[in-house]
């Protein structure tokens, strides 16, 4: 009996060996980012790259906050992100409820149109959207980034609808017989059960808004309105290779919040992707 168990032990250690090497390769860019952000400029342009910052310094971070309004960028990013999450939660729960818990005639027709918008690239609608928002005098404000979130999104509607369909019909029928309105049923019965799905939608929207680049790039002009993602790109094109330590410090500030968020919530996140994508 020692034969197969020995073979499987070898297989398992080879598998772990390969996985550890790949995990190191995938982590290396982050480690290089962190290490560079803590280095002095002299050490950064050394002929043979050194992994350990010697001496380690926070000067790059001080310079970054001093040269660029990073705190302002952070505040802007938070405003856009939080309002977008709020909008996504409010609108998509209502819409998904209408697409799953109420029977009406043209429901499937509208749902198919909804899914079709997933195939529509932003580049197609970008120009008319920009012209429309500038006629409304909404450019250079956060409104074009926030307001659309209050009107639903096909991906989140789909995700929540799938979840709502899985809740037993009898639960709402009982409440309906007792005379509860649909809004009451949504609020008191469906939403408490759908917390994981709502959390997933909130996470997706958070990451989307935090990471969005092309939206802020098109709509925001003043540096005081920039988000972190846009501010970082702007810094790169303005400063470029002349002060890499400072750009890496700003990148750490941009990346750290999403990394922390993801590490603590990754279960919801990955389950959300799987649920939504594979079932479609």
């Amino acid at each position: 009996m020692s034969g197969p168990s020995k073979a499987s032990r070898i297989e398992s250690s080879v598998r772990h060996g390969v996985l550890i090497v790949l995990a190191l390769v995938f982590t290396t860019p982050f480690l290089w980012l962190l290490s560079t952000s803590l280095k002095t400029n002299e050490q950064i342009v050394q002929s043979s790259p050194d992994w350990i910052p010697r001496p380690a310094t926070l000067q790059n971070f001080l310079n970054a906050f001093h040269t660029v309004p990073l705190l302002e960028y952070g505040k802007n990013t938070l405003i856009v992100t939080l309002f977008s999450v709020l909008g996504a939660l409010c609108s998509n729960t209502l819409v998904a409820y209408g697409f799953s818990r109420i029977q009406w005639r043209s429901r499937e027709f509208f749902f198919i149109i909804t899914l079709a918008t997933l195939m529509l690239p932003f580049q197609v609608t970008m120009v008319p959207l920009f012209i429309m928002f500038s006629k409304l005098h909404w450019t250079n404000t956060f409104l074009p980034l926030i307001v659309p979130c209050f009107f639903g999104n096909a991906f989140y509607i789909f995700l929540l609808r799938q979840f709502f369909l899985g809740i037993p019909r009898e639960l709402s029928e009982a409440a309906r017989i007792e005379g509860a309105s649909e809004l009451k049923i949504l609020w008191h019965i469906i939403l408490p059960l759908a917390r994981p799905a709502l959390f997933t939608v909130a996470l997706f929207q958070f990451l989307f808004s935090w990471n969005d680049f092309i939206g802020p790039l098109i709509y925001l002009n003043d540096q005081s309105k920039f988000t972190l993602a846009l501010g970082l790109a702007n810094m790169q094109s303005a400063i470029g290779l002349s002060d890499f330590g400072m750009i890496m410090a700003a990148a750490v500030v941009t990346v750290l919040p999403v990394i922390l968020l993801f590490v603590f919530t990754q279960r919801y996140f990955i389950e959300g992707i799987v649920q939504a994508k594979v079932s479609s």
Binding site: V18, L22, A23, F26, T27, P29, F30, W32, L33, P49, S91, L94, V95, G98, F99, I102, Q103, W104, R105, S106, F110, I113, T114, M119, L120, P121, Q123, V124, M126, V127, P128, L129, F130, M132, P148, F150, F151, N153, E182, N211, F213, I214, A229, L230, L232, A233, Q236, I247, M248, A251, T254, V255, V258, I259, F262, Q266, I270, I273, K277, V278
Partner: protein
Amino acid sequence: MKPKIGRSIRPELKGLLFVSPWLVGLLWFYLYPFVASLYYSFHNATAFGPGAFIGLRNYELLIRDPLFWKSLANTIYFTAGSLSIGTVLALSLALLLPKNVRGATAYRTIFYLPTVVPFTAVSVIWIWILHPQYGPLNHLLEQLGLEAPGWLSDPTWAMPGLILVSAWSIGNMMVIYLAAMLEIPTELYEAAKLDGASPWQRLIRITIPLLTPVILFNLIVGLIGGFQYFVQPYVMTNGGPADSTLVYSLYLYRNAFQFFRMGYASAMGWVLFLLILAGTVLVLRSTRRWVHYRG
């Protein structure tokens, strides 16, 4: 009669009422701009409005624009490169990570992490890693005795550089393969083992064929994403050197927001839409030959 009508109208109204925010959003942010961009594409539009009607002129100019063709070729180059490398890498990672491997969650988190950070951050990190002189990658290549390319500063190597960067962000693909693999019944493998099938045969005869529907899904998503590829070439190379990384979306963006040729950019947008549609149909058509549907 009356109560019957009441009963049939009420759910209709209730349904529409609940989905009404989205119906407004659908009209306002999708249907209107979708149709308006077709309208603009027949006009000499600027940032201020549609301007004069010029028929198919924008499309004629597009066909004669060498940069249009160049950006299209670059986009196909990028999409083909990143999709093939990404598919192989994501599939391999998923195959290495069945659920019972110790530390599977930790590995999955590590491989997924690059996918959640902003693309602008990915861009600045990799500008630095690919730096020909001070970057760690070329240092490693030199130590291995290999030729160290100029990466983003060399027209031949800039696009391979961007494809390499894209291979870092394959988390979504990997997670979808992982989920699909969990759905393959274990009895299939046990039966194959009893028949004396080697691990390699099990991979080629069972796992891969049963994954083909998901590979198809990832191909279509990747195709749509590839045609919209924008942030990394915008930040890392700004389309250069010598337009070697000028991708379709970047050229469209330039026409719209740097040259303010809104009509021309709208025409590019519609061509993009039709190309994605055609690409998807083409992939779907080929499926009969290689996609295996269960049951």
